[in-house]
């Protein structure tokens, strides 16, 4: 099936070439970081995680969100998702690969990464994160590939794949719960140490993932002959709408707990992010944009006419995705470190090399995504569906 | 054979790449590793006491494993003494035991490590002895 990725339009090759250049820039900058050390980033003794771990956290959510398509389709036989199940599964693969790369580029001694296997440590949440991420990667490659392969042949998927599909559905939330446990189990980081973290991680994942899928489906429809289906896109948008509301609610629960209880240490990070603390306010603009995007997202996704009109839908989905990215990919991680253990504020802002490496990893993800979607759409373009667009009647 | 030309072309590239270590060293001088153990610290010991913690043969083959074991015993178990096969005890320390006698890192360690192109990361942290640079230059 891989040969399908080798035949494409000049636009396809141009896009891959463009991504390859960005990947190359990332690799070269990473070699520089490898030489000098993580000192080339904006991280410090006090904000010891930054953009890299933020991206990792966010992308675990994107990967997990494949379940928002796979679950309704395989468990509830929601036929509209029949055609795009593969789109979800194939989004999870590059997302997990990016997660792994972001962890890797964040390590101070990357050559020793296999120490995690050499000295397995079950009391560390990182140990479980390694297991669930690699397991989820394998499950998605397996399920996506086998089902697409049978679709190409015009045959129903083999029966042995079913248990794997169900395992993948249960597995998906676990990857993000474990990732939340990385944070919420740490004493002394009040912004993270809250039981709602895992729930908020899942809800924000199920808002950002489907909104990304809405955009990706629109792009696929525009650039290929494969149509994911209007109804499928609408359902994805509804999923994103509900989970966006839930995420905002969860955040407000947290704000209520911190401020009504009056416990100041719980308030500092929130104050820092929204108003600034002791005159330091680098992340206030980021958080303000985040709030604005959330408002746009809610307005569009919740209002039926705006959600149904695909121009506004695209804007709403993009807003939701960016909002969640700013929240989880930057402010969540950095905010947790401010103020530090000594009640002092040391701010963080990514440096240029750090940003280039981050873009490089994202480009790698989109590179893999493009190839996978190319394969999927080439297979799907040939498949003929019945007049309701639900059942494939011919290969 | 379909695409025979392409396959043969690919094979040629493959063979060229695989044999690169050999082809690159054609014409290069063959320098045999020649480690030295004649440091002043060793030479001033009486002949009978010029012995390492274990036999020369064992050290040559096993020093890397031994250093890893020493490291773990000291750092992880707080055990700092090594009892050798003769029952003699030594303080386990690369910096404070090994290199006290083998004060010639460049001639003792690097000679073979360079030859076999391994780069142990010992010296990223452990401080190497200050070698007598003047003497080296005079020779």
């Amino acid at each position: 099936m891989l040969e399908l990725a080798l035949k494409g339009s000049p636009r396809y090759w141009g896009w891959l070439f463009f991504l390859a250049i960005l990947i190359g820039a990332g690799v070269i900058t990473y070699l520089y970081q490898f030489q000098i050390g993580l000192g080339i980033t904006g991280m410090s003794r006090d904000v010891s995680w930054g953009l890299y771990i933020g991206q990792f956290t966010f992308l675990v959510g994107v990967a997990a969100s494949a379940v928002t398509i796979v679950l309704p389709y395989y468990l509830h036989n929601y036929k509209k998702y029949g055609r795009i199940a593969i789109i979800g599964e194939f989004l999870a693969i590059p997302a997990i690969l990016m997660c792994m790369l972001f962890i890797f580029v964040d390590l101070g001694q990357p050559m020793r990464v296999l120490n995690v296997l050499l000295h397995p440590t079950p009391n560390s949440v990182m140990f479980y994160d390694m297991i669930v991420l690699s397991g989820y990667l394998i499950l998605n490659i397996l399920c996506g590939w086998v089902i697409l392969m049978s679709e190409k042949k015009g045959a129903p998927p083999p029966r042995w794949i079913k248990p794997f599909l169900y395992i993948a559905i249960c597995w998906a939330p676990s990857i993000h719960i474990v990732t939340a446990f990385l944070y919420q189990g740490l004493p002394g980081r009040d912004y993270w140490m809250t039981a709602i973290m895992a729930a908020k991680f899942l809800s924000s994942a199920f808002a950002s993932g489907p909104s990304l899928l809405v955009i990706l489906c629109m792009l696929i429809r525009k650039f290929t002959n494969f149509d994911p289906g209007k109804e499928a896109i609408q359902t994805l948008a509804k999923t994103a709408a509900y989970f966006l509301l839930v995420t905002i609610a969860f955040y407000l629960f947290e704000v209520f707990t911190a401020f009504y209880s009056g416990i100041t240490s719980h308030q500092y990070s929130i104050i820092y992010l929204f108003k600034g603390l002791e005159g330091y306010s680098k992340l206030v603009p980021v958080m303000s944009i985040c709030v604005l995007l959330a408002a746009i997202g809610v307005l569009i996704l919740v209002t039926p006419p705006l959600r149904k009109w695909e121009v506004t839908l695209a804007i709403g989905a993009a807003s939701t995705f960016l909002c969640m990215w700013l929240e989880k990919g930057i402010t969540l991680v950095v905010g947790g470190f401010i103020p530090n253990a000594f009640d002092r504020v040391f701010e963080y802002w990514p440096t240029l090399p750090e940003t280039i490496i981050t873009i490089g990893v994202w480009s790698f993800g989109f590179f893999v995504l493009t190839i996978l979607y190319k394969i999927a759409s080439s297979v799907k373009e040939k498949a003929i569906f019945d007049k309701y667009g639900e059942k494939q009647i011919k290969a | 054979m379909y695409d025979g030309g392409k396959i043969i072309f690919g094979l040629i590239i493959f063979i060229a790449l695989v044999t690169l270590p050999f082809t690159l060293s054609i014409g290069k001088e063959y320098i045999k590793a020649n480690p030295k153990i004649d440091t002043p610290e060793i030479m001033k010991l009486p002949e009978a006491e010029r012995k390492c913690v274990e036999s020369k043969d064992f050290m040559r083959k096993e020093h890397m494993k031994m250093l890893i074991e020493w490291r773990d015993a000291v750092v992880r178990d707080g055990k700092t003494l090594y009892v050798n096969s003769q029952g003699k005890t030594f303080n386990m320390s690369l910096q404070n035991t090994c290199m006290q006698c083998h004060s010639n890192k460049s001639k003792f360690c690097d000679e073979c490590h360079n030859y076999v192109k391994v780069k142990p990361y010992c010296w990223d942290c452990h401080i190497e002895p200050k070698e007598n640079i003047k003497k080296e230059a005079a020779l």
């Binding site: 000098i36 050390g37 993580l38 000192g39 991280m43 410090s44 003794r45 006090d46 010891s48 995680w49 964040d106 101070g108 001694q109 990357p110 020793r112 990464v113 296999l114 120490n115 995690v116 296997l117 050499l118 000295h119 397995p120 440590t121 009391n123 560390s124 949440v125 990182m126 990385l182 740490l186 004493p187 002394g188 240490s265 947790g336 530090n340 253990a341 000594f342 040391f346 | 494993k65 074991e69 490291r71 773990d72 015993a73 000291v74 750092v75 992880r76 178990d77 707080g78 055990k79 700092t80 003494l81 090594y82 005890t89 386990m92 910096q95 990361y121 942290c125 452990h126 401080i127 002895p129």
Partner: protein, 261 residues
Amino acid sequence: MSNINRREFLKILGIGTFMGLGGWSMFEVVGKGEIEAFAEKYKKVPEALQAKRWAMVIDLKKLDQKIIHDCTEVCHRIHNVPKILNPKEEIKWIWEEKFKNAFPEMKDDYMSPEIKNMPVLVLCNHCENPPCVRVCPTKATFKRKDGIVMMDMHRCIGCRFCMAGCPYGARSFNWKDPRQYIKNENPEFPFRMRGVVEKCTFCYERIDRGLPPACVEASNGAIMYGDITDPNSEIRKILSSNFAIRRKAKLGTKPSVYYLL
């Protein structure tokens, strides 16, 4: 690795093989013949100091600028701790903080400025229940049998999870090669390399040779240490007759560093 037994070895090997990576190479690293002979080959120095759990008492009344300077100097010198001026990349094992920063939860509007700004020496608390050890994915940081929270710089992968886990800001990361920032090196102790986390190790290298921690020695009696599980130890006597506080005790980490006011 020297206390590895056959069962544990098989366990590690099994997991390694299960992961499909490095199964065989681990066999090589852990070694075959070595496992049997371990116990007798390595010994503690007879004069090594023993305790069930080391602890420290710092008397804030006795701290003055000279003692603080002497303690930090001697610690950082003998352990080759680099002097980096940029606060973002600083590396510290023991250092001075103001009372209001070391004990932020005790901040009070009506506290006298003298107390607010009273100097406090802070270091790793060698917690009985250390979050850094809990989160470390490679056991690079671990708790010794005598309660010292140790760092194995050889094993650290630099993920900095321990820094996020430590509520005391006791850990520093080598953002760059530290060597250029060390002026007078101590040839008896190693440096660190870039990309690993480091912190106070309760002078394990001195304890294991029968010497007290260097800061205790340099503190002119302001810092005391001993086995906190031993009711007859010096520090237990001090703690039974004085009011002592610990940093962020409510977090359940059970710090082993006590402060006398």
